[in-house]
Each structure stands twice: as structure tokens, then as C-alpha cells.
């Protein structure tokens, strides 16, 4: 039972993601998490002023259930299935993050410098989280999918456009990680 409480290796996590995709396909759905963001807009009434959001959100109920499942899964995993949730990233990465004043590297699950309630009081942190979120939401819809919709579902279905998108993900991510983050953090 010990293994349940330890971090799960990639060869457990990856196949489980594929299994979720298969289950959704089996029930006539498609695996894509960012569609829920559009559904939220519609539920909030965005469909009245804009046709992009003008659809029957009830047809997306199953996908909302997937995100609800992710919330419940996160709660169970964090509160009942983990004894120590520190993430054992590579020592070089830890050193690099410490140079950027992220001292919780290797100690916690998320950087406390960005994701603690205390840090949230700093305008800089608030700005990082809001801009990051905005880009994720905007980019995902522009590209017609996120990591689940393109990198998993799209590439699994051998869609060339998903390859363009995933290359885009990495161009953006690498640019942020190597060229911008050192100045932001």
C-alpha cells in the first residue's frame, strides 16, 4: 500500500490519462478540458452578446462532470492519499529556482512564493497568476484545445494541426521559462 502514498511514477500517470480519453470516447465524448472554460462563459450569460458562446451548455454537462471529478480527485489525493507532497525535481532545477528566490523548490508541491495566500497579497504575484491564467484561457480557445485536447487527444488521432499546436506550446513555454521567468520572478 506504501506506493499509493508516494508520488506516482510517469508510467502510472500517463496510461491513466489515456484510459480517461478512452472512456470518454467509449461514451461518445471527447477528452478536452479547456472547453469547460467556454461553457462557464456561456453559463454566465456570454451567449447573449456573442454567438461564440451561444450554445446549449447543457450538452456540455458531461465535461463539467469531468472537471468536477478532477476537483474531487485532487481533494482525495491531497488530503487522504499523500503523506509528503513535496516534489522531488532535479537538483539542478532546485538550484536554479533558488537563484530565482523560489526557495520552496523541492520542499512543497507548488511554489509557496506564488501559490500561498500570503503571496497572493503581493501585487506582483497576483499579476503573474492573472496574466498566466489569461494567456492559458485565451491561447487554448484560439488554438481550439489545450494539453488534453491537442497534446493527448489530437496527437493520438494523428492530427497534423495538433502537432503545430504542441510545437507552439513548447515555443511559448520555453520562451517564458528561459527568457522571461528569470526577469519576472
Amino acid at each position: 500500500m506504501e506506493w499509493i502514498f508516494n508520488p506516482w511514477p510517469w508510467y502510472i500517470g500517463g496510461p491513466m490519462i489515456a484510459l480517461i480519453m478512452f472512456l470518454l470516447l467509449y461514451f461518445g465524448k471527447n477528452f478536452g478540458m479547456s472547453s469547460n472554460l467556454r461553457t462557464f462563459c456561456t453559463i454566465c450569460g456570454a451567449g447573449k452578446s456573442n454567438e461564440f458562446f451561444n450554445f446549449d451548455w447543457k450538452t456540455q454537462q458531461w465535461n463539467l462532470m469531468v472537471s468536477a471529478g478532477a476537483i474531487i480527485g485532487g481533494a482525495l489525493a491531497a488530503h487522504f492519499l499523500s503523506t509528503d507532497s513535496s516534489v522531488a525535481i532535479h537538483p539542478d532545477t532546485i538550484t536554479k529556482l533558488q537563484d530565482l528566490n523560489i526557495n520552496s523548490a523541492g520542499v512543497s508541491y507548488l511554489p509557496e512564493e506564488l501559490f500561498s495566500m500570503q503571496a497572493l497579497m503581493q501585487p506582483k504575484v497576483l499579476l503573474i497568476l492573472s496574466i498566466g491564467g489569461f494567456l492559458v484561457g485565451f491561447g487554448a480557445r484560439y488554438a481550439g484545445g489545450c494539453t488534453s485536447g491537442h497534446a493527448i487527444s489530437g496527437l493520438s488521432n494523428l492530427q497534423l494541426v495538433s502537432l503545430y499546436t504542441v510545437i507552439g506550446f513548447f515555443i511559448g513555454g520555453l520562451f517564458m521559462n528561459h527568457l522571461l521567468l528569470p526577469y519576472i520572478l
Binding site: W10, G13, G14, P15, A18, M21, F22, F27, G28, N30, M33, S34, L37, F40, A46, F53, A70, G73, G74, A75, H79, V87, I89, Y109, L110, L114, L129, S130, I131, G132, G133, L135, V136, G137, F138, G139, A140, R141, Y142, G144, G145, T147, S148, H150, L155, S156, Q159, V161, S162, Y164, V166, I167, G168, F169, I171, G172, G173, L174, M176, I184
Partner: protein, 121 residues
């Protein structure tokens, strides 16, 4: 997502540093199995739970929307260290500042919808 650490900002950072196989292992093994499953579904015409043929819609062909959208998403992924799926996982895990990321991701989606017609697709 939580237990495999794919929802950890640190793992995303490390992935872009090319310092660990972990995230590539997760995405790669999901993908390898995914390709296999979809090939089997197509070849053997597997029926869904409702007895219908499983049809996976092709994504619309284009270049610019995927390249621009992908890069914008990547910038956000590298900064916030979370893509849409893990955002929900982290809410459940009790990291409430992630709600800021969620609210702004919804806002970003909304702004996209407003200006979509003016963007190159």
C-alpha cells in the same frame, strides 16, 4: 493528475528546463497508448456504449490559429505552470490562489470569443 505531479508548477518548470524525463514520460506514454487505442477503434470499428460507431471529429485544417494560439497558451503554461485540467485538480487540493488563474482563464476565453473574428485563423 495530483499524484503523478503533473499538476505541480515545479514539474512544468523542470520540463521546460529539460531536466527530467517525468513529464515527457507522462505525456509520451499517454500518447503512445492513445495512438494505439484510436487505431484499434478505427480498424475494428469499435462501437460506443450506446451502440454507435465511435467517430472522432478531425480538427479544422489551418496553420496560423494553431501556431499563434499554441504559443500564447505556452507562455501562460510556462508562467502559471498549470493547464486547464490541473487547475481543477489544484482547486480540489486546496491551493486556492489557483482560483485567480481559473477566473482569468475564463476571462481569457471570453475575450477570445469577443475578438475571434478579428484574429487570423
Amino acid at each position: 493528475m495530483f499524484k503523478s505531479e503533473a499538476a505541480s508548477w515545479f514539474r512544468i518548470y523542470e520540463m521546460f528546463q529539460f531536466n527530467s524525463f517525468h513529464m515527457y514520460g507522462i505525456i509520451g506514454s499517454a500518447l503512445a497508448l492513445g495512438v494505439l487505442m484510436i487505431q484499434i477503434i478505427k480498424r475494428y470499428k469499435i462501437k460506443s456504449a450506446y451502440g454507435e460507431l465511435i467517430v472522432i471529429p478531425d480538427k479544422a485544417m489551418s496553420f496560423s490559429r494553431y501556431a499563434y494560439g499554441g504559443i500564447i497558451f505556452g507562455l501562460g503554461w510556462g508562467l502559471a505552470g498549470a493547464c486547464p485540467g490541473p487547475i481543477f485538480t489544484l482547486i480540489g487540493a486546496g491551493f486556492y490562489p489557483i482560483l485567480v488563474v481559473l477566473v482569468f482563464a475564463i476571462l481569457g476565453t471570453w475575450v477570445y470569443g469577443l475578438i475571434a473574428k478579428k484574429l487570423p485563423h
